[in-house]
């Protein structure tokens, strides 16, 4: 039994300690905003914040989380930076299929939390772990700059 702090709420889950957070969120808690893309930390679709840092939930065993707070796409809009990122995503019409965008928004919000005025090189470095098969990178870059100056 683990007690997880997710989006400011406490959740008790009776799962094996090696179970990745991704499947706890999706299949045990029913929070399907966090996506499964590859299962090997190659695509970033499953990105959540753990203690404020972006992590790949597909390879994060619940047993190692302890009391570090988890934030997912469902609540990222509660933070001013997350809300700005979501707004910029819609304003720049970034999204196509949208499946990777939960992870992209989590990664972008983490970047802006660390670095409020990222350069293109900073964006490359922070966002290259998140792939998008629709190819929305041009607009993701524009939206991050827009969120940074909002």
């Amino acid at each position: 039994m683990f007690t997880l702090s997710i989006n400011g709420q406490s959740h008790e889950v009776d799962v094996p300690q090696d179970m990745p957070l991704l499947w706890v969120l999706r299949d045990v808690l029913g929070m399907t905003g966090t996506k499964f893309g590859c299962g090997i930390a190659q695509c970033g679709a499953c990105t959540v914040h753990l203690g404020g840092k972006p992590v790949r939930s597909c390879l994060l065993p619940v047993g190692v989380i302890g009391n570090q707070p988890i934030v997912t796409i469902e609540a990222i809009g509660d933070s001013p930076v997350g809300a700005k990122v979501q707004h910029a995503w819609l304003d720049k019409e970034v999204v196509q299929c949208g499946y990777c965008q939960s992870g992209q928004i989590m990664a972008a919000t983490a970047l802006l939390n660390e670095n409020p005025k990222p350069t293109d090189a900073d964006i490359d470095s922070a966002m290259s772990g998140n792939i998008c098969r629709c190819g929305t990178y041009v607009r993701i870059r524009a939206a991050i700059h827009a969120a940074a100056s909002a």
Binding site: V15, P16, M19, P20, W23, V24, R26, D27, V28, G30, M31, T32, G33, T34, K35, F36, G37, C38, G39, I40, Q42, C43, A45, T72, I73, E74, I76, G77, Q86, W89, L90, E93, V95, Q96, C97, G98, Y99, C100, Q101, S102, I105, I123, D124, S125, M127, S128, G129, N130, I131, C132, R133, C134, G135, T136, Y137, V138, R139, I140, R141
Partner: protein, 718 residues
């Protein structure tokens, strides 16, 4: 069935040749009353307005990211006179009588046909409903309908200052006759079409609330994951069922009747995955266990010389023209098998009961999905309810139903709903791959460097022969020669295209974004570049000379050349490549600028695309599709190939089946030429365009002509 088959032949031809629009399409009973709607509501195939004022638009095509939900809603709303904020969207149920794409002959989303298919019928549906609502108001007010006006979801009579919302008129309007013919707005009067309102599907996609197929839930649902025999056609040899069942949360271990796949069902994906690992399945590969890419290519090489060739297009005597030319060129071009790898792995939620079934999934083919479940489960199709959800990408993958059939094969063995989720490894290794093509192309130039004739013989699998056999024309797969020699915007005196069908052992093939054009534009536009250089002419000027009878293509070429700074100096190691195309009813010219480092790394720096897709519904979506299609196409051209060894696919996930990443993405500029021609398709055009432009740029940068995809590892020196 006879009528459908006949229609399909004509219509698929139209779609794939790409030039004509909806005018050749069959008329659908789309203006007739919606059968399932309540009696007090006004409805047709695409619209429901109930007395409470809820306006629901029914989406005939599926949303896979291309923006069709927004474009379709715009088309209806334009004539219905409602605001986009006033409507709700609903996926169409499987119903060929109402939702057949007239360009595809099926209720399907593909071939960049959606806007072309919907351009007239959705506006007509909106206009018919509007006419009936005005009629109902005029009748109630005892005034001439011509003195009433519909605007923003209400009918008003200015003279008497009366107004009624559509909801208040719906029940009365439903009793009025459906008009036979409805006048449509002139383009000058469009309020929505041609503008870029915000997409309707995206707010839910930025906050985690959008429900994709993989997110669907039913009470009592279990999660399953599967392993398919790594060699196509093989079956299970052994497995340790007890070990799998020992994993906490595992509920069932299942095998398909033919032994081709196994699944473990659990309380959650982790239990299913762990169970599948412990199951330690061994396989008997069967007859395809020796297949390698090398053996398949050798078979294609042989078939390309000795196989039965079907003529695609013949103009003049191209072979004689080439034989008698001053300068002769010939080449072999090769394209690999490709996986689709949509970000949302293939999945399907199913509940099969003795008396019927319910399916929740993202599919491009709802009717095929319904029929597949019915067939596998032994049910009548009408007892299978299909809920079509949005897809996390598709690129053609969800035009096939193998994942539905397999899911049904497992789900019928258990009483509870089960959501089958493929791991990425299964998704990459058991795809219906874009065929591997092996193409011979030759041409002759006269003493002045003018192209006097050319021939192209393509060899590879026919997707059409499997997916839409009724669309073959005297055995010809028109997709295999789409945008090939004889089907280009160029004016060439003698042309011959041929196709040799060869089905690869142990590999399933399917539609992949850009279909025929993605294949043939690489071959033709790379070779045209070879011809330009052989003729010692500038590649833009060489093409322009052959486009004098195709003014729209020429205009795109000129615009792309101008915007890209064609001909201006570039740093050492950089080069520009150009391509021109007419595909899916849309004209494009693009210029790619690339840097090739001394180590042979290929770094795309800039892509300029000029596009004329005729009438545009949403210009921002056009731009987005070109940007995104270009990025998918660049990553694919640089990195992607599916290869086989011992009958097994060698790639498995995004580490060895790469996607372009943010740091590799070049600057992309899209320039739209606007007019009121028939709308062309857009979703696949960017992907089709970029590989030849990139290959030609690499030649300009290095002097090396790469005739085989993918490019990235071919120039590396270290």
């Amino acid at each position: 069935m006879g009528q459908i088959a006949l229609s399909r032949r004509t219509l698929v031809k139209t779609a794939i040749v790409g030039g004509a629009g909806l005018m050749l399409g069959i008329r659908l009973p789309s203006l007739a009353r919606g059968a399932e709607a309540a009696a007090d509501s006004l409805s047709n195939a695409f619209i429901k307005i109930d007395p409470s004022g809820t306006i629901t638009l029914i989406m005939p095509h599926v949303e896979v990211g291309q923006g069709i939900y927004t474009a379709a809603a715009m088309l209806i709303a334009e004539e219905l006179e409602v605001g986009l904020e006033q409507v709700q969207l609903q996926a169409a149920p499987p119903d060929l009588s109402k939702y057949t794409d007239p360009l595809l002959g099926d209720q399907a989303t593909g071939g960049s046909t959606s806007v072309r298919a919907d351009w007239m019928r959705l506006r007509e549906a909106g206009a018919a409903a509007r006419t009936m609502l005005i009629g109902a108001a005029a009748k109630q007010w005892k005034v001439d309908p011509a003195t009433c006006k519909a605007e923003h979801g209400a009918v008003t009579h200015a003279a008497s200052k009366r107004s009624l919302a559509y909801g208040a008129l719906a029940t009365a309007a439903a009793t009025l006759p459906v008009p036979d013919k409805v006048p449509l707005k002139a383009p000058a009067d469009f309020k929505l079409i041609g503008t870029s309102p915000k997409r309707l599907d995206t707010p839910a996609k930025v906050n985690g609330t959008a429900i994709y197929g993989i997110d669907a839930k039913l009470p009592g649902m279990k999660i399953g994951t599967l392993a398919i025999c790594p060699v196509n056609g093989g079956k299970v040899a052994s497995m340790n069922e007890a070990a799998a069942r020992a994993i906490p949360g595992v509920r069932a271990v299942l095998k398909l009747a033919d032994g081709s796949a196994v699944a473990v069902i659990g309380d959650h994906m982790w239990a299913a995955k762990q169970g599948l690992e412990r199951l330690a399945v061994t396989w008997d590969g069967g007859p395809n266990a020796g297949v390698t890419t090398k053996s398949l290519v050798a078979a294609m090489d042989k078939a390309s010389q000795t196989g039965k060739a079907i003529v695609g297009k013949k103009v003049g005597d191209a072979e004689a023209a080439v034989a008698g030319a001053t300068t002769k060129l010939s080449a072999i071009y090769e394209l690999p098998f490709l996986s689709h790898a949509p970000m949302e792995p293939v999945n399907c939620l199913l509940h099969i009961r003795p008396d019927g079934a319910e399916v929740w999934t993202g599919t491009q083919v709802p009717v095929r999905t319904q029929n597949a479940v019915a067939k596998v489960a032994g049910l009548k199709p009408e007892t299978v309810v299909v809920n079509t959800l949005i897809s996390g990408g598709a690129f053609g993958r969800r035009l096939d139903i193998d994942m539905i059939e397999i899911a049904a094969g497992f789900a019928k063995q258990v009483p509870y709903p089960v959501k089958m989720i493929w791991t990425r490894e299964e998704d990459v290794q058991h795809d219906y791959y874009r065929p591997h093509y092996y193409d011979r192309i030759s041409a002759g130039l006269d003493a002045s460097g003018k192209l006097v004739g050319w021939t192209q013989r393509n060899t590879g699998s026919s997707v059409m022969a499997r997916w839409a056999p009724g669309a073959l024309e005297n055995g010809l797969d028109t997709d295999a020669v789409e945008a090939a020699v004889g089907n280009t915007p160029y004016d060439v005196p003698a042309e011959l295209s041929e196709y040799v069908q060869l089905e690869p052992d142990g590999v399933n093939t399917g539609w992949w974004r850009g279909v025929g054009p993605t294949h043939n534009l690489f071959v033709v536009e790379s070779f045209v570049d070879e011809l330009a250089h052989a003729a010692k002419q500038d590649p833009v000027a060489f093409r322009a000379a052959m486009l004098q009878k195709s003014p729209r293509a020429l205009a795109c070429l000129k615009l792309a050349a101008e915007k890209s700074g064609w001909g201006t100096p570039l740093p050492a190691g950089h080069g520009r490549g150009v391509e021109v195309q007419f595909a899916f009813g849309t004209y494009i010219a693009s210029v790619c600028e690339v840097e090739v480092t001394p180590k042979g790394e290929v770094l795309p720096r800039r892509v300029v695309v000029a596009v004329d897709c005729g009438s545009v519904v949403n210009p921002d979506t056009v731009e987005a599709q070109i940007q995104g299609g270009t990025i998918l196409g660049l990553g694919t051209a640089l990195y992607n190939e599916i290869t086989l060894s011992e009958g097994r696919v060698e790639q498995s996930n995004f580490h060895d089946y790469r996607t372009l990443r943010m740091n590799e993405t070049p600057k992309i500029e899209v320039y739209q030429i606007r007019n009121t021609e028939e709308p062309g398709g857009i979703g696949e055009t960017g992907t089709a365009a970029v590989a030849p432009a990139l290959g030609n740029a690499i030649f300009a940068a290095t002097g090396k002509r790469l005739r085989k995809l993918p490019f990235a590892n071919q120039l590396q020196t270290a």
